[in-house]
Symmetry: C2
Subunit: 121 residues, 2 copies
Amino acid sequence: MKGVLDEPRVLSSTTLKGDVVRNGAGEKLGKIEEIMIDLPTGRVGYAVLSVGGFLGVGDKLFAIPWEALALDTESHEFVLDVDRKVLENAPGFDKNDWPDFADRTWGAGIYGYYGYKPYWQ
Amino acid sequence: MKGVLDEPRVLSSTTLKGDVVRNGAGEKLGKIEEIMIDLPTGRVGYAVLSVGGFLGVGDKLFAIPWEALALDTESHEFVLDVDRKVLENAPGFDKNDWPDFADRTWGAGIYGYYGYKPYWQ
């Protein structure tokens, strides 16, 4: 996570679900659909961003590296500061067809796409 | 987390909620009520165990260090291998009166009680 204003913050996964996600320009991208937990390491592996029919992508879900998100604690909203083009071309998935989040090859692709090193490396 | 049979496993926080927690002897202690996320570090800080009126403690919640839990992937149940006396005397809380999980002094007490080093140290 890139930053929070008043660290440390410890919140329930239930609280985080549904939080709005905006881009760096303040435009709403979607909301937090799910928090994916890597059990052996006890890390948040990914946040799942749900996007409702914008950018011509229709309803779609995106796995986002946790490090790519920042929390604005005043508004209780997340900021995903990526270019619009990046999200347009991002590897998304349908809500009825989730990938296997434990697949490290798939995961390395996600982390690489957003410019982050996989958390398990 | 002490162990999972088929690593790596990455599951949604929603999937984990409600999972049964047993002790080392296989006795049911309760279930996973919540997963607490440490936002800046992206770590699971605590699992919250709900215990329904056993051991004479009544309905109560317990913050558990993630490292103290193991997942039995066959049964999809968690094992918290602590002595019954440990849980009887553990610092619990009421469902209407949650502690501030970001309080490091409180947290160090929890980790120390179960014999683990706080994840932020």
